[in-house]
């Protein structure tokens, strides 16, 4: 699913450097990325998603060399193939839950919002246990419910790859387990691949593989 080859990246300003000789994630694999703050975990997710482009090497996702696409192609590729789940949920407080889930369809021409998508959004929300809260304002939801809505938003376009950036970071222990269960089950149901950045070492044994960024420069932790 993901293949990184001789990746090098640095911002125009600052000391930060990310190098990654080889890194692969197989289809349907669930991989956790751990490491200290500032080590480049989120930068890696942004590189895979094509939000930023590598200064060296290349990134291939689902057989598409993302780093070779132009801006518009990268955006279209991202919105149709990659689902993002963020630590702070990043729901829009001025939209209700259903509109938040449907939001990716409203901001790009690459996805078509039709009745089938709406039906799917409702059933996805029901699967996530927030089916009765679709008309509620996003702000009225609990943290756990917000993250469920965010997962629905990420899964609705049926992405091949889910990138989760500290998806359980803002949740209490009970909700962490529940949300991770839901995320794993949804990823499995949709036959997607999961690459999750986390600081939570208690959850690591649930992933197929763990990549430690601290040891990364040249190797992988298993």
């Amino acid at each position: 699913m993901i293949r990184i080859h001789h990746l090098g990246f640095h911002y125009r300003e600052g000391e930060f450097r990310l190098t990654m000789p080889e890194f692969t994630v197989a289809g349907s694999e669930k991989v956790a990325v751990i490491g200290p703050s500032g080590s480049g975990k989120t930068t890696l997710l942004n590189l895979i998603a094509g939000i930023i482009t590598p200064t060296e090497g290349d990134v291939t996702v689902a057989d598409v060399q993302v780093s070779n696409l132009n801006d518009r192609e990268r955006r279209d590729f991202r919105i149709t193939n990659i689902g993002f789940v963020f630590q702070d949920f990043e729901l829009l407080d001025y939209l209700n839950v259903l509109d938040n889930i449907l939001h990716p369809y409203r901001i790009t021409g690459a996805l078509q919002l039709d009745r089938e998508v709406r039906t799917r959004a409702v059933s996805l929300a029901q699967e996530m246990g927030i089916g009765d809260k679709l008309k509620r304002a996003a702000n009225d939801l609990s943290h756990g419910e917000k993250q469920r809505a965010a997962i629905c938003r990420a899964l609705l376009p049926r992405p091949k790859l889910i990138l989760a950036d500290e998806a359980t970071g803002n949740l209490d222990p009970a909700n962490k387990t529940r949300i991770l269960d839901l995320l794993f089950r949804s990823v499995e149901d949709h036959d997607a691949t999961l690459l999750a950045v986390t600081h939570d070492h208690e959850l690591l044994d649930r992933f197929d593989r763990v990549v430690d960024f601290q040891d990364f420069h040249g190797g992988e932790a298993g």
Binding site: N46, R78, T80, F84, D99, R106, I107
Partner: protein, 393 residues
């Protein structure tokens, strides 16, 4: 695009206070100059159109503006009174047709205009319902008065006392409404027209009372001689003129010294008008003759001078408001950086983000514009009354 508008609509709807403030700012900065322009154009139209068709006005020396405003637009400011002889004097010159006007009293807030029948011909006023005044105590009302006071021929209208505390002053007279005038879109729509003699009855100069020679109440009679009977204040005075008591109404003394506020003079030709004006130039002359067009023109020039100052003030305020709006939008954009980053990460293009923000601004501008149009429409509907309230009363 529809999705952008939908999201923008949700955003402006969610941030109600911010949206309301921005819409109010936009509405105000667009409404103020437009409505001001509208009101000034309407005032110019109303004031000038009537002034142009009124050739000359004769009244007591003093403020020519008060004289014209009272005679033409029935303004509240009553000029010093002149006597009816002023009208007769114009008639005697043979230079113009005099139309005496007595605008002093009110009925339920509407001016009562005492005049002669020539006034209706001069103004081209037509009766829409009922008939023209024919008897003492009758009145015809303007279209707006009829609407506001819900009057129709056959109804009654009571004149208002000048002051509630003057017990010896003017007593209300119950007038019979005999006609409603066609709408003229002028001050005539807002007036109650009576014959001059009825106006004098309202003032108490003419009156009707029970026949003192026939009264059986001896306490009313102060002194009785062979050819005169003196009665006390207990004598019953009529507050309404009816067919039965019409004959008892009478005026004491010479009518030529009875008061009026002005005389509209309609010269037979330009030369007659010039000669007539010349007759009032003497310093000893107690009356003045004015050309309403000149007086109103002077007033409008002053109004437009003030408008220029107001325009400058509004421009500065508008500029400050626009800068403040830009600042608000810029700050809002800064506060929403995280949201923008999120939707960008999801896959939204910068162009779409710009379109979303543009849609929000467009919606706010549209709402402000729509509100402004609605307010301007309202001002337009009531411009006649507003102009009257602002410039005449």
């Amino acid at each position: 695009m529809i999705d952008s508008i939908y999201i923008a609509w949700k955003y402006v709807g969610f941030n109600k206070v911010r949206t309301a403030t921005l819409v109010a700012c936009i509405t105000l900065i667009s409404f103020l100059p437009v409505s001001l322009q509208l009101l000034l154009e309407e005032s110019e139209r109303q004031l000038l159109s009537r002034a142009v068709v009124t050739p000359l006005v004769i009244g007591a020396k003093g403020s020519s503006l008060d004289l014209v405003m009272n005679t033409l637009y029935f303004g509240d400011e009553v000029p010093e009174l002149i006597d009816m002889g002023a009208s007769d004097r114009i008639w005697d010159t043979g230079l113009a047709v005099p139309i005496p006007v007595y605008v002093r009293f009110q009925a339920r807030g509407q001016p009562i205009v005492g005049t002669s029948l020539d006034y209706f011909d001069f103004r081209g006023l037509k009766i829409r319902e009922g008939r023209m005044i024919a008897l003492l105590g009758e009145c015809v009302v303007g279209k707006k008065v009829a609407g506001r006071l819900d009057l129709k021929p056959g109804d009654s209208l009571v004149s208002s006392p000048e002051t509630l505390f003057d017990l010896a002053g003017v007593y209300p007279l119950k007038m019979k409404v005999v006609g409603v005038l066609e709408k003229s879109h002028t001050s005539d729509d807002l007036a109650v027209f009576v014959d001059l003699k009825t106006a004098w009855v309202i003032q108490g100069l003419g009156h009707g009372h029970e026949d003192v020679t026939k009264t059986k109440d001896t306490t009313v009679i102060l002194k009785r001689t062979d050819n005169n009977v003196a009665a006390s204040a207990k004598l019953f005075h009529y507050a309404e003129i009816t067919e039965e008591n019409l004959g008892s109404f009478h005026f004491h003394g010479d009518l030529s010294v009875y008061p009026i506020t002005a005389v509209i003079a309609v010269p037979h030709d330009t030369k007659s008008g010039t000669i007539l004006r010349g007759r009032y130039l003497s310093k000893e002359e107690a009356l003045q003759i004015v050309k309403p067009e000149e007086v109103i023109d002077g007033l409008l020039q002053n109004i437009f001078r003030i408008k220029n100052v107001l325009d400058a003030v509004i421009s500065v305020v508008a500029l400050a408001t626009i800068l403040a709006l830009i600042l608000v939008f810029a700050l809002s954009l800064r506060l929403r950086q995280r949201e923008i980053q999120t939707i960008f990460k999801i896959g939204c293009s910068r162009m779409t983000i710009a379109r979303l923000l543009t849609a929000e601004i467009a919606l706010i501008l549209l709402m402000g514009g729509a509100l402004c149009i609605a307010l301007v429409f309202l001002v337009d509907q009531f411009s006649n009354d507003l102009v009257r309230a602002l410039f005449i009363r």
